[in-house]
């Protein structure tokens, strides 16, 4: 293999009016033809600056102070704009994440592709359009010729990401650079994008440089890894060796955090030697089948959208949560899982169906009754920055539910706030601070304290960890588990983070396009998923372990829009097992084995072999 790209001693600094601060110090790395190199680092490690520096896209105040970027021996840092324009897109190409923001919003996809093709090949517009259609086909976009006329806002996020990829490989680059290829995408879509990307470079025998904070991506797709921390490369290794025996302290910390978030899996598979802490499943005993705390019957939520059409977010689902039980609700975007949570709290009104809480029907409560109910039924939100009033001090935020829904005196409330802060692991001094003075992890603790202030019986968690960094995520999950054991609350834990659900929940329900497709005891369900969607979803988890690369994937294409739901089984447009009946018959959620409900006309659950 010959060296394709070599970065030598690259130093980049932030040059301000008064200060100069190094953001990359002596970075060296290389990529050979046909090689896949992963660059890993947390936010602020300098990954993005490195990308921009390689492509010479740095703008002031960032400046390259020294080093070389050699593309087949040609130092890019010495080339003029004209030469760079000839190289960019042709020799080295970039595919950025957040695809919607990176496409020109008011030109058609066809126009953008043809512009890029014609920047490097002098062919007429019509020929370029034909080539563009071929490109769209190669990234698995259905009806490519039709899509040439589409504007970015008419396509889903996954589709836009495919278009970005098509733009990047339009001129068969020798080196493809990809920035956070999975961010913002659903798991069943992002694994398809990753596969496409890898296959494209294999076909061209090009090098691939993947920048990601997700160790799962690196473990599954890369051959070598470079770890960045604070503008330096702290470790470089072959991928298996890296995950088996990381040398650097920071690398170990990263791996540890990733593993802590999924130690439940490791306990069961016994896979990796790196992992230091193993914690068992939710071991606290479940008070056996008493009267359920919350019962949701035939819940349906529809939103009117433009032109008299209807978006069906939640399509006739029923489930129950027992006292002290933690139930996970899992699904991708558009599945309606967050809508379920909001309906349960009556933050939005269900279109139909009933809700029962402690044996009382709550779907018709209003006014004071509803406000009193909220003392016992609480919620923790996804983005901690967004879920606290920026003009309210933290103590005021925690105190508010107490003063609005209880008769506690001012002194009692103050004491309770102090207790709560301690309970969620914050110092008393935090009380007088404002949200912008704290980190995301700390704020999420405040959100939790506020939710449990009134000693609720049930707390709904709406993706409580997805806005947090990996290491913080593990801490919050530990806290939640701890609290549940101590206070005996019930949880409805809504998440797309399967490892978190597996770690925290007794039972799990999987949703797809407004329907529950499978419900079961968590560990059983994770070991032997039966519904094709459950299997696909679970198999698209990228574990940070090259020894455990994911198995071939089941589903194709994007998640359909919940506005025009497919007929019959909502999955039949993507399902490899679909038969003609699937397009007609809407399967019901039925108990197919003890404790396991399933909605599919073609499969029956396997019996768990381990139990």
């Amino acid at each position: 293999m010959t060296t394709l790209l070599e970065v030598r001693d690259l130093t980049v600094a932030f040059v301000g009016d008064r200060t100069t601060r190094a953001v990359l110090s002596g970075v060296s790395l290389s990529v050979a033809d046909g090689e896949v190199l992963g660059v890993v680092g947390e936010s602020g490690s300098g990954k993005s600056i490195l990308l921009a520096a390689i492509l010479r896209l740095l703008q002031p105040p960032w400046q390259v102070l020294g080093g070389q970027v050699l593309l087949r021996g040609e130092n890019l840092l010495e080339q003029d704009e004209r030469r760079l324009a000839a190289l960019r897109g042709k020799e080295l190409a970039l595919a950025l994440s957040n695809p919607r923001q990176h496409l020109n919003p008011i030109l058609t996809i066809g126009r953008q592709l043809s512009d890029v093709i014609r920047a490097h090949r002098p062919i007429p517009h019509a020929a370029a359009l034909a080539a563009a259609a071929e490109l769209l086909k190669s990234v698995n976009i259905p009806d490519p010729v039709l899509r040439l006329q589409a504007y970015p806002h008419e396509l889903s996020g996954g589709m836009c990401q495919r278009v970005i990829l098509a733009l990047a490989i339009a001129n068969a680059p020798k080196l493809l650079i990809v920035d956070e290829p999975t961010s913002g995408l659903d798991v069943t879509v992002s694994v398809q994008i990753l596969d496409l990307m890898r296959n494209a470079v294999r076909k061209l025998n090009s090098g691939l440089l993947v920048v990601s904070r997700d160790l799962g991506v690196v473990a599954n797709y890369c051959e070598r890894v470079v770890v960045m921390n604070a503008g330096r490369i702290v470790e470089e290794a072959e991928v298996r060796r890296f995950f088996a025996t990381p040398q650097n302290v920071y690398s170990r910390k990263l791996l540890h955090a990733a593993a802590a978030a999924r130690d439940a899996d490791l306990a069961s598979s016994g896979a990796s030697p790196v992992l230091l802490r193993t914690e068992p499943q939710p071991e606290h005993p479940l008070p056996s089948a008493s009267e359920p705390l919350l019962e949701v019957r035939d819940l349906m939520k529809r939103f009117p959208v433009r032109d008299g059409r209807v978006l069906t977010a939640v399509n006739d689902i029923s489930f129950a949560i027992g006292r002290g039980e933690a139930v996970g609700l899992v699904g991708e975007s558009g599945s309606g899982k967050s809508t379920v949570g909001r309906c349960v709290l009556r933050l939005i009104e269900p279109t139909s169906g009933t809700l029962w809480f402690k044996g009382q029907e709550i779907s018709k409560l209003a006014g004071t009754g509803l406000r009193k109910l909220r003392a016992k039924l609480q919620m923790v939100f996804q983005d901690p920055f967004d879920s606290l009033d920026p003009r309210q001090s933290l103590s005021a935020a925690i105190e508010e539910p107490l003063s609005l829904t209880t008769d506690m005196t001012r002194g009692d409330r103050k004491a309770r706030v102090a207790d709560l802060l301690q309970l969620v692991g914050l110092s008393r001094d935090a009380a007088s601070l404002y949200p912008h003075q704290m980190s995301a992890g700390e704020l999420q603790r405040v959100g939790i304290a506020r939710a449990i202030a009134t000693q609720p019986d049930l707390v709904v968690f709406d993706e409580p960890t997805s806005a947090l960094d990996v290491s913080v995520r593990a801490d919050i999950l530990n806290l939640l588990r701890d609290l549940q054991q101590r206070l005996g609350m019930s949880y409805l834990f809504i998440s797309h983070d399967l490892t978190a659900v597996r770690r925290l929940c007794h039972r799990t329900a999987i949703m797809y396009l407004g329907k529950l497709v499978e419900v079961g005891e968590t560990e059983e369900l994770f070991r032997t998923p039966s519904h094709p969607y459950s299997r696909a979803l679970l198999s698209s988890v990228l574990y940070p372990d090259p020894a455990q690369r994911r198995s071939p994937f089941l589903l194709s294409g994007e998640i359909p829009s919940p506005i025009d739901l497919p007929s019959g089984c909502a999955l039949h447009t993507r399902c490899p097992m679909a038969t003609a009946d699937c397009a007609r018959i809407e399967p019901a959620l039925e108990e197919k084995a003890p404790g396991r409900q399933l909605s599919c006309i073609n499969v029956a659950p396997e019996r768990s072999k381990t139990q």
């Binding site: 909001r342 709290l345 933050l347 406000r371 909220r374 003392a375 609480q378 919620m379 939100f381 996804q382 983005d383 967004d386 879920s387 606290l388 009033d389 920026p390 003009r391 309210q392 508010e400 539910p401 609005l404 829904t405 912008h436 959100g447 506020r450 939710a451």
Partner: protein, 269 residues
């Protein structure tokens, strides 16, 4: 920032004590007609022999008062309506209807060119300070309404509003206790700009003879009186009051710009 602040401070001070420190009586002839600027009459005298410098000192009491009062009224009404129409833009059918109706009304008011509308309002109700204030207040409500509504629409989609409802707030309480304080910044910034703009409108109305009656010491009136002399070369008559007017209005708009940067929550995080 300093420029805007100083000019505004001077204006406020003059509004309070301007007429008291003026070297000459402000509504009576004190010298020869059309004297060019000299040591006694720093800005010269106008056609009826009144001292222009003294009148400029006294003018903020009229102009600023009109602008301040009308802007304050517009601000209060506009923000309250904006919060309601923004917060209830989604909700029950009745809420949506009223929210929509408020917006349509604002649309209609804004179909009328500002100055023409002001002219007509004052024309129909008669030229007086009170009517000028009412007309200006009325005209400016839609601007505050739109700004606040826009901010509220953004703020209300943020999770802390849902969280506040979860914590036991009623919708109305959430709207005014949690949403309003977080969406008032654009209106506050516009407050400053509007004062400047109202001064300009007041002066414009007086200039065409539909504002405050002469011989009130008011900038627009002074420019009107000086306009005839300007064409025959007595430049000081309208130049000085106009310059003061331009600088004042500019100061309020620069101050507003700076205020926006200062209040921008993203710059504070």
């Amino acid at each position: 920032m300093i420029f805007g602040f100083v000019v505004i401070a001077v204006n406020l001070a003059l509004a309070l004590i301007g007429p008291l420190i003026a070297p000459f009586p402000v509504q009576a002839p004190v010298g020869a007609s059309l004297t060019p600027p000299n040591a006694t009459h720093w800005f010269g005298t106008d056609v009826s022999g009144m001292d222009i410098f003294s009148r400029v000192l006294a003018a903020p009491r009229v102009d600023l008062t009109i602008a301040l009062v009308s802007t304050a009224v517009a601000f209060a009404c506009g923000v309250a309506l904006g919060v309601l129409s923004g917060f209830f833009a989604e909700g029950t059918a009745i809420a949506r209807f009223f929210s929509g109706a408020i917006m349509r009304a604002a649309d209609i008011f804004q179909a009328f060119p500002l100055f023409v509308f002001a002219l007509a309002l004052v024309g129909f109700s008669g030229p007086s300070t009170r009517n000028v204030i009412m007309a200006l207040a009325f005209l400016n409500i839609p601007f505050f309404l739109r700004l606040t509504r826009g901010a509220v629409l953004q703020v209300r989609s943020r999770t802390f509003v849902e969280a506040a409802i979860c914590a036991g707030n009623s919708k109305l309480r959430a709207a005014f206790v949690h949403v309003m304080p977080n969406s008032i910044a654009p209106a506050l910034v516009h407050f400053s700009t509007t004062i400047g703009f109202s001064i300009l409108l007041t002066a414009g109305l007086s200039f065409v003879g539909a504002g405050v009656p002469p011989p009130t010491p008011e900038l627009g009136l002074m420019i009107k009186v000086g306009a005839q002399n300007m064409m025959t070369g007595q430049w000081w008559t309208a130049l000085m009051p106009g310059l003061v007017l331009a600088v004042t209005v500019l100061a309020f708009s620069v101050f507003g710009d700076n205020l926006r940067v200062f209040l921008d929550p993203t710059s504070r995080r």
